[in-house]
């Protein structure tokens, strides 16, 4: 039996028009041996939740630069829960003030990464979460 691959959806919601950050993190996760589903710009929360469901990902990572993180994260989280995917990690990065990060984490969002973080930190966080979640060994 081969080792189980971590599947991650990297999504770019919102209206801002460039996805460099999202592509950089997608490539870093792939280089760390993960299977990364990438969906392009302007993803709505509904699309993100539907994609996460069809792809049965372990992790959803959002890249948000538009400042709409306080609406987008909770929205995606709620839709995922409604879909029965409350065991999936929602994480992400962008320009998010620390008090907002705290508020979002209280609602059930995972760790969030600011502009100063390296891709290595995000990769390590996701690997560790996967390890601890026991998803790799479930029957």
């Amino acid at each position: 039996m081969s080792e189980r691959k971590i599947r991650v959806l990297v999504a770019k919601p919102g209206l801002d028009g460039h996805d460099r950050g999202a592509k950089v993190i997608a490539a870093a996760l792939r280089d760390a041996g993960m299977e990364v589903i990438y969906t392009g710009l302007h993803q709505t929360p509904e699309k993100i939740a539907a994609t996460a469901l069809q792809e049965d990902v372990d992790v959803v990572a959002l890249s948000i630069l538009s400042g709409a993180h306080m609406t987008l994260f909770p929205r995606v989280l709620r839709l995922m829960t409604e879909n029965g995917m409350d065991d999936v990690l929602l994480t992400g990065g962008g320009i998010i003030p620390s008090e907002d990060i705290e508020a979002l984490q209280e609602q059930g969002v995972g760790q969030l990464f600011g502009p100063g973080t390296t891709t290595g930190e995000a990769v390590a966080y996701i690997s560790r979460w996967f390890e601890e979640s026991g998803r790799g060994v479930e029957a």
Binding site: D31, Y38, L53
Partner: protein
């Protein structure tokens, strides 16, 4: 419904299969993962659902990188939805041979389908193991089929062996080529000519599409041994009247160079503007009707089942042999034997552990 397979599942797995059967997309998604990762009980899950497999039409879509396969796949899926047909899509991208990771980007071109009811898209990484992809994509297609999708579209990049795997796991193979990929020569080298039931010359908004279409047609004519491509329309009329009058051609007629043979059409299209997609879709429907009427659908499905069973057997045998190999390697004296005996002699020793009556000279 296979009761004994169902009985061997854990209560949790049984619940999952029940939710699958009641049509819950999350259950479909989780069963696919279970099977793809060979988690315990996956064989019984496939067996439990096997009775529901066989209704969908399976279409393989292959061609060089960037040809527009995903764009065309999405356009075809929209055409089916307009006709109230449901669509399951499997999009395969290569895994990195170095890290084992993969970037699965086909959904970018299928973006508007993400929330469309009646469409389910699953990205898969090739995971590079011998025949592993072939078995996994077949099994994912079986699950989409059992879930009730009318059409299953399987997108893979056509480089090397993968197009042969596509052709042997689907009813119809659509090969997508583009003018700038240069010559049809490349396609011929890659073995795409042999597997195509239908060519789409995509990006026909760019120069060179007519030339590419002619090149493909010339090669097809050479291969079929016919003097040349008949004038447009002539053979089409001829064939359809033949087909209409002959629901069930006798066996011996199918054996030789049957004159009801399928002539591979070459259709220009601009997938990004949905131009020509209608003709591609209608020709695929026509191909399927021809498969049914000529008896080749049953033959093809049998060949698919045979290949799938062969892959499973090969994998099972390989795994057993590798276990025996690892134990042999761990024995004292293995290193010495590796120096003094030939690889064939060693292989015989290992094989006799798995298969005591193994013939001694069969490699």
């Amino acid at each position: 419904m296979n009761e004994s397979a169902l009985a061997s599942l854990s209560p949790k797995q049984k619940g999952l299969i029940e939710r699958f059967q009641s049509g819950q997309p999350l259950a479909l998604s989780r069963v696919i993962s279970h099977v793809e990762n060979h988690r315990p009980g996956f064989e019984s899950m496939l067996e439990a659902l096997h009775g529901a497999v066989g209704r969908a039409r399976r279409i393989g879509i292959t061609g060089p990188p960037g040809a527009g396969k995903s764009t065309l796949t999405a356009a075809l899926a929209r055409w089916y939805r307009e006709r109230d047909l449901t669509v399951g899509i499997i999009a395969v991208d290569p895994s990195s041979p170095f890290t084992g990771g993969a970037l699965l980007g086909d959904r970018v071109r299928m973006d508007d389908l993400a929330t469309e009811p009646g469409i389910f898209i699953r990205s898969m990484a090739s995971r590079g193991s011998h025949g592993g992809l072939a078995a996994s994509t077949r099994e994912t297609a079986d699950l989409l089929d059992a879930f009730g999708f009318d059409r299953i579209l399987l997108e893979t990049v056509g480089v090397g062996q993968s197009e042969l795997e596509v052709a042997s796991s689907t009813d119809s193979t659509l090969v997508v080529l583009v003018p700038e990929s240069g010559d049809g020569i490349q396609a011929m080298k890659a073995g795409l000519m042999e597997v195509a039931d239908l060519f789409a010359v995509n990006k026909a908004d760019r120069p060179g599409a007519d030339r590419l279409k002619r090149e493909i047609e010339i090669v097809l004519a050479l291969r079929s041994g016919k003097p040349g491509r008949p004038a447009a329309g002539h053979h089409g009329v001829d064939l359809s009247s033949l087909r209409a009058g002959r629901e069930d051609p006798p066996q011996e007629e199918r054996a030789g160079v049957a004159d009801d043979a399928w002539e591979v059409p070459v259709i220009p299209c601009v997938a990004s503007r949905s131009e020509g997609v209608e003709e591609v879709a209608e020709t695929l429907e026509e191909h399927f009707r021809w498969l049914e009427a000529s008896g080749r659908l049953a033959d093809g499905r049998r060949a698919q089942a045979r290949e799938h069973a062969r892959l499973v057997l090969e994998r099972a045998m390989g795994r057993q042999a590798m276990q025996a190999w690892e134990s042999w390697l761990a024995t004292e004296g293995a290193d010495r034997e590796l120096e003094s005996r030939s690889p064939y002699a060693i292989s015989r020793t290992v094989l006799s552990e798995v298969w005591p009556d193994a013939p001694t000279a069969e490699y």
